[in-house]
Symmetry: C2
Subunit: 138 residues, 2 copies
DNA sequence: TTAAGTGCAAAAATTTTGCATTCTT
DNA sequence: AAGAATGCAAAATTTTTGCACTTAA
């Protein structure tokens, strides 16, 4: 089965790249729909599946219900905000992690790993501080 | 809201513990249903939610569609088989990982992390070897 | 007794699929 | 042309919710 570059596929890729972030299928759908109004969500799912199988994009299964897709396929890890669910990249020394990991792998052939941090992003921290102040002043 | 120990809740906990593994809601449902045939899947979900909020069990969001639940709430990490989707514990030095992680956290307050390995479990390796041999002999 | 918990059925949320039609190559 | 890809609607999967009834404390 050979691949074809359709309008939909191209714009899905472009928009994911342009976003510079980790979009869920329906977020991407909303964006691409502004350009191709008759786009179907199924097309987005089908393309994301195909493109991630080809490693042209990465499929993330981070916290939260929905899967997210990343234009950046390089090995890197993520941190997600437990309050607003945004996802950011986090830079760290992957080799060191691999070294630590080499230990108790119980007969598995390890093909990869995913290190995912959870935390509260700067914006949500600010919001929470404001809320705190409000309550204190009441 | 105070908690009550119902029959359902108790058996859900016991069966999860007895399994010694990381069950999805519906796997647990099947097991508990053998004991309480009129059990509802909704009850399983509600209990797993409540129990994981109380940290009596842990909710895992590992690879694959469904969430999984673990009787073991201690800090430990997981490895899952990309072929059969089973999940096993993996022992490693969490402090070392934290040290590596301290680096590029971009303003986030880190509340935790999840390190999840992917690989092929011993059983699936065996199966794959058998398949390979079969094909070679044909 | 009372309000937490349950079963059931219906809904919500996310993802996948069948099929006729439209495109890329 | 051929068959890959699409749109649409319907289905599948996983999880949540409303509500009347049951049960633990």
């Amino acid at each position: 089965m050979q691949l074809r570059m359709t309008n939909q596929r191209e714009i899905i890729l472009t928009e994911l790249k342009k976003s510079g972030s980790h979009l869920s299928a329906d977020e991407l759908y909303e964006r691409v729909r502004r350009i191709i109004p008759r786009l179907s969500l199924a097309t987005v799912y089908r393309n994301l599946e195909i493109l991630s199988n080809l490693h042209l994009i990465a499929k993330l299964e981070v916290g939260g219900r929905q899967k997210r897709f990343d234009y950046d396929v390089s090995d890197h890890d993520h941190i997600y905000c437990i309050v607003c669910h945004r996802v950011d990249n986090i830079e760290l020394n992957r080799e060191q992690v691999s070294t630590v990991a080499a230990e108790g792998r119980q007969g598995y052939t390890v093909t990869g790993y995913r290190l995912e941090f959870a935390g509260i992003c700067p914006e949500c921290q600010k919001k929470m501080n404001k809320e705190m102040n409000k309550e204190t002043n009441e």
